[in-house]
Symmetry: C2
Subunit: 414 residues, 2 copies
Amino acid sequence: MGLPGVIFALALVTVGTALDNGLMRTPPMGWLAWERYRCDIDCDNDPKNCISEGLFRDMADRLAEDGWRELGYVYVNIDDCWSSMKRDKQGRLQPDPKRFPGGIPKLARYIHDRGLQLGIYGDLGTHTCMGYPGTTIDKIETDAQTFADWGIDMLKLDGCYSNATEQEKGYPLMSKALNATGRPIGYSCSWPAYQGGLPPKVNYTQLGEICNLMSLQPVAGPGRWNDPDMLLIGDFGLSVDQSRSQMALWAIMAAPLFMSNDLRTLNSEARTILQNKGAIAINQDKMGVQGRRLLKEKYGIEVFWRTLSNSASALVFFSRRTDMPYRYTTSLGKLNYTAGSYKVYDVFSEKLMPGLSDSTDFTVSINPSGVVMWYVIPTVPLDQSLMRGGEYPNFRRKYRVSSQRSGVELPFPL
Amino acid sequence: MGLPGVIFALALVTVGTALDNGLMRTPPMGWLAWERYRCDIDCDNDPKNCISEGLFRDMADRLAEDGWRELGYVYVNIDDCWSSMKRDKQGRLQPDPKRFPGGIPKLARYIHDRGLQLGIYGDLGTHTCMGYPGTTIDKIETDAQTFADWGIDMLKLDGCYSNATEQEKGYPLMSKALNATGRPIGYSCSWPAYQGGLPPKVNYTQLGEICNLMSLQPVAGPGRWNDPDMLLIGDFGLSVDQSRSQMALWAIMAAPLFMSNDLRTLNSEARTILQNKGAIAINQDKMGVQGRRLLKEKYGIEVFWRTLSNSASALVFFSRRTDMPYRYTTSLGKLNYTAGSYKVYDVFSEKLMPGLSDSTDFTVSINPSGVVMWYVIPTVPLDQSLMRGGEYPNFRRKYRVSSQRSGVELPFPL
């Protein structure tokens, strides 16, 4: 279960501490059940949409067959309401037998056979948010081992029905327990959501020490990403412009790209946005520096900026206006770019624009609730040494886990 | 200029009083500039989108060539910011000479030649809402005559920069003045928006006596429609489900269907919704009885109902939920339908469903912020006499003004 709108975070312990799994050097991408399917367990009346092994097989098929996997969307993540209401005789979690008759290991094989990865959901507490068995402190090692035995690749650990003391103990314990299984399992901690999400209530210094959970822009990086939650693109509430805005802002924030939609019936606009190679390349930039808001005009225009590998950068011009397209005039110099000449690729119109000097005024037309997103490359790379190492132009993503995933190439010549 | 979200109303004086023009026996349909183009007068930098004769010619071309006119979308309506800042030497309004070099009569001919009608905007007050010359009480007759001389077919009279006393005098005066020209000109009064929109502040009894302006469900009818303002379908802020909801609710309310979008670049989803024949047939039902909300469940589901000609009716199941599709179970009997058997046509899925008894429970799956809309027809017409007159099945719309408009046939056999 997710808490929409609340920032939680992916916790990956890195250098020499509990969870040195080497996973998620770029933000993870895939599909997560919650926002679209919630706790629909009514398989009798709603068999195509209920939380069941069939639903996850369907999504795995779509990820594998419709071009998603090749773009990096490899996780198939179960959320709340998957389990039986009772643990088994050995005290282990078990899936609902009616909705997952084949069991989780078989589902994991199905997903692995398609070059994908399986995520699952747990809750540090007496119950999950929807009332299924939770993972109390004494069950942490058992559950971590169960997940590893099943072939799970990622765990989202929610925090309903536990108090602050239990969370402070439990989240690091699960990190160690997952690591102790020997299986690399991505670890998504919902902990900060239960602490209000922001400092000073959340002590990010302490969090960083315990599980490398990082939810502030300056400390995000490879293996430890901020997570503003699922992509709603392709669901019911976002217009095309709003969908582009979510994709652009998640890319700038180096946020995980977990879609939560029905991949079986996705319309072409949503598909085009989610499969936009420029936005994905920005999201997945290997340097892993989270972007930030540069400025906020009082008339509703905001500009976001992210630094990328090889002296490139991304800009997002975002309109919070509600009236009509706004013609916003600025220059790269005014946005703190150094003197020089730049190539600009417009991510959503997919057009490479002519060279632009830092001092040249330009105008972008930004739709209400929409964005213009640019990939900006210096015409003469500022740091020539980057080219000698064969690193430039090289935007291929590197994975340690899944060899099926190829990199995303930028859809324009550098 | 419109006041989004505020209910204003179309005022048509009917039997023997001021404005006996016979127009708008069904809710008017067409295109209105404001919501999409506002007061964009920057033709130097934004020539395709600025308020100018070219914009209105473009929209007329689209209405005439893309199948809109045949469905009833015949009005091309100018909003604020069209005029010069000064009246001419004879004290008449005149268009901005740079943006309307051909003048309004030429534009009216262009529009009439395509089987369409031209609407214009005025403001009862010293200035329009955006600061252009207004129509003070002493200018009402001059402006009405100017509009008639130009070949205008509809006037929207806004109410900025006037007080309650002036409005009480001016709105009925304009009605008489339009009628006195001898040209049938549809008359849309923004008056109630300046009175708060709702009783008791707005005295609808008085309004009804003065200009047949009707803004309450029980008193709406042919020639006097409630107007919840423009359709935003095809603009930037509505999802596909939200777009269907606006279309369905405007149909149930017998509201004018004035699109305010860019017909040159409309995407296929928006076009499909706006051109939905079932929704248009409901909106345009010749009996002209406005629908109403039947019930409002506390869990966010609302049901609207409208009675239609020939014993038919329309139902809208609307979800204000934000989570996921809701499976709503009810029966026609529970929705006050009389005993009997009914045929159901699902307006947006465009499927004719099998017969349904009033007592049979059915379940509709309603998307968050979306609707399911039904056209319901008794299998055995309740009033057999309707058939003898050749009225059943007859859903053709009748217009007195424009012979170019053909009727909208329901897209299913009765």
